[in-house]
Symmetry: C2
Subunit: 482 residues, 2 copies
């Protein structure tokens, strides 16, 4: 594989693609969605064979992917996302103030690593690729080795959209996996300007380290690791134990726990209600059905992680299903005390799969200490009645500092694709908590602000011209106008 | 110096300061401005003694500093900067969509390194500190060793504002320089969440490397190195050579060239007009008055850099002033060919001071090659008539990719403090081209988006409540409203 050629072609395509007008870029995204929709049946079938994910889930994921393409098409058609800011000249002050206008512009070729657990929505034509294309960046996709045929089929659909819309041929390129070195070479290539990755902590850390060692460092937006702590407050457990047990057993075992937002850590206060809830949750998890995991590597990692945890002296198994068939994940619920959790940081390591640990704390002080001991998270959840949320405000205040998304009385699984979503969080949930990888905000990873000083109207980009030909929202002399 | 204590106090103060309401935070910034204004005379005199900068310049810089404080006070009083985004629930779709609301929240204690060349506007109470305070972050300032008394006086003024406004005592702390190790310890401290630095490439690179090696890496927003290339197009040189020579001689020697945006690289096409302009520019620079530099370290670095450049075989001295007195900078203009510049990357190293190099290119192809060979820049300038800007569009397109600010027919020195400003640019101009260190946009370095899912109105921050009690602009279901 000639990485040099691929990156050069991407940089050359960028010269043209960055100048494509927003309506044409939007039409291109819509065409990609249409091409994927046209291949829905074969895509779902292929992904099912490669990932063991059930057909309804994969059908839903295709819809999520095309909806995501449409969302970004709408975003760039509307146009205000470029954050146009205008300060007009003040020639009469001393010294005279020049005319200054700024907007967001794309940075250049982006490298996207496909994720194993979302063969469509977080892979080849997933949110990372689409947000970059929407921004005006070209993309080099490193297909995930666990679903190579799916990845290539999606890429073929995208190539058709490129041809149909007359986009530069190398706007999107696809590199089939040739192992570890290919990814490293892409990240280290001088023409790469940014990287997106969703996967393991080890993987994200390695890529970040390659990127930091470059002569010109570039950002790696890696989404890596999260156990998504859920705090169950007493009054809620008193009132809704059975319903909560059903909801969280479903969330823990959903898709065999192969979601970044899987609730891997449950936290409560020592009480009869907590014991009662734990028993109900254990029963519900024991009743779940083991299924095959995405691929053998993930299966083995889960088995190892699960065994390692259950071997810890201070940890007790609450329940598990009957032993599953070969290659199926074995759902399990464990428990420990706040004291033991605080003494053993390895208990907060992510076990990617249908495993969850309940930490029972002696009192509020210990509960807060447990929360403060946690690494950065994608989500954290509050399960509480109005009585609880009034009584436990200081606990909730700590939770708010932990994660990019704070949830009240919902399960953390389920990540809406919309403008308000934050799928990000303090390290090691992601490498940069200032950004999100889901929702329209994901586009900001691929752009930089550029200020034009004293430009003539003819020379300015349309977004910054005097008469606002695009009709977008702009901040003009500190007032929002359109 | 007990760095552990200082960072712990900062983290404790953050717990309270982050909850201070926007109007009170704005009043606090205004009070800092008032305290600095009240000390104007002694501050200017002290800084003059410590930095050799002339009194009028320092007076102007105090005004810039207080204006900056007022600008951030206005920003947070207006309130829309938090980028509130709301997607309301859709309970009737399958699966039901929860209510999602996001806004920007401060990340935690910030470490600010004072800059040597702006003892007020980029130091103790400068843009980095003020943007962090506006965001709701607490600040630990590492005073610059070249103006210790000035730094301490400014800090004392800030302490008075803290007391007068009843802010947590450790909202701002000041660490007098105790050498290299102190800065390193601050950046490496687990409680630090971000760093601001303006200075040398070596300094910025070292800090970035400490930050990347932490268990939890944090961003270092370093503004490091820029030679601010200016392209002089033929028609402009034909029509305005004398005026351009005066403007650029003044810009090159302004403040003895001790500005990040000093035009250190001039680029033109081989022609009679270029020769004529070079002669006029040389005459104007030779007529400038050498002055003392900020401190001995900068003076020595300038002398070394200047001598190193002038010793290059392919570089010719065009003009210099008469030999200056001891410790005064010696302004100089040199020239070389495009070919020689392309063959010798060291010619684009920054010589911080009143030195500038004109690169005379054989033709447009060579000029574009020279531009493409440049590292990332804070600014790039186009000097051209309407005839020029129409004729040389492909050159200008390359310039736009080089820098955070693209200027038409102005000198690059002079950085307005306003919403549209971008003082940033591709590496090594800064470590992260996605951010600016001047203007209201600077606040974004110290915040992260946080999404609240399914929250009750009572539990939401005011910025996200149903009735918009702050009256700010918000994106509600993809429509901007207030």
């Amino acid at each position: 594989m000639q990485i040099d050629d691929i990156m050069l072609w991407s940089a050359q395509a960028f010269e043209q693609y960055r100048a494509v007008t927003p309506p044409l870029r939007a039409a291109f995204l819509e065409k990609i969605a249409a091409e994927i929709e046209g291949q829905r049946e074969v895509l779902v079938q292929t992904a099912h064979e490669e990932t063991n994910l059930p057909l309804p889930r994969l059908n839903g994921e295709i819809t999520r992917t095309t909806t995501q393409l449409q969302m970004f098409a709408n975003l760039i058609k509307e146009g205000s996302w470029v954050e146009a800011v205008i300060d007009t000249a003040k020639p009469d002050v001393t010294p005279p103030k020049p005319d200054l206008r700024r907007m967001l512009l794309p940075v250049g070729p982006v490298v996207v690593f496909g994720a194993s657990n979302f063969p469509f929505a977080f892979s080849t034509a997933g949110g990372d690729t689409v947000s970059a294309l929407a921004a005006g960046a070209t993309v080099v996709i490193k297909g995930h080795p666990a679903h190579p045929r799916t990845s290539l089929l999606v890429f073929t659909a995208m190539k058709k959209a490129i041809a149909a819309c007359g986009m530069p041929a190398n706007t999107i390129q696809h590199v089939a996996d040739e192992g570890y070195e290919t990814g490293k070479a892409l990240v280290q290539h001088p023409l790469a300007t940014g990287v997106a990755f969703t996967g393991s902590f080890q993987g994200g850390k390695a890529l970040s380290s390659y990127a930091a060692q470059r002569e010109v460092p570039i950002p790696v937006f890696a989404e890596m690791s999260s156990i998504n702590p859920v705090v169950f407050f007493p009054d809620a457990l008193r009132q809704q134990a059975q319903q909560l047990a059903q909801t969280f057993a479903a969330s823990i075992t959903l898709g065999m726990g192969q979601f970044c937002t899987n609730p891997g850590l449950l936290i409560g206060l020592q009480s009869e209600e907590t014991e009662n809830f734990l028993q109900m949750l254990g029963t519900a998890i024991a009743a779940s059905t083991p299924q095959k995991m995405l691929h053998n590597g993930i299966y083995k990692a889960y088995q190892t992680g699960r065994s390692h945890m259950l071997a810890q002296e201070t940890l007790t198994l609450v329940s598990e299903t009957a032993a599953p068939a070969a290659e199926e994940a074995w759902p399990a619920l464990a428990r420990t005390t706040g004291k033991a959790f605080l003494a053993n940081p390895s208990l907060q390591e992510e076990v990617f799969g249908p495993y969850s640990l309940m930490v029972v704390c002696a009192d509020k002080t210990e509960l807060i200490a447990v929360l403060k001991s946690l690494r950065g998270q994608l989500t954290t959840t509050i399960i509480g009645t109005e009585t609880d949320t009034e009584k436990w405000q200081d606990v909730i205040a700590v939770q708010t500092t932990l994660a990019g998304r704070v949830i009240l009385n919902n399960a953390p699984t389920g990540v809406e694709v919309c403008a308000a979503m934050v799928h990000g969080g303090p390290y090691p949930a992601t490498t940069d908590q200032r950004f999100t990888s889901v929702g329209t905000g994901a586009i900001r990873r691929w752009v930089r602000p550029v200020c034009f000083q004293n430009f003539t109207d003819a020379m300015l980009p349309d977004a910054l011209k005097k008469d606002n030909p695009l009709g977008i929202w702009r901040l003009v002399n500190n007032e929002y106008t359109r």
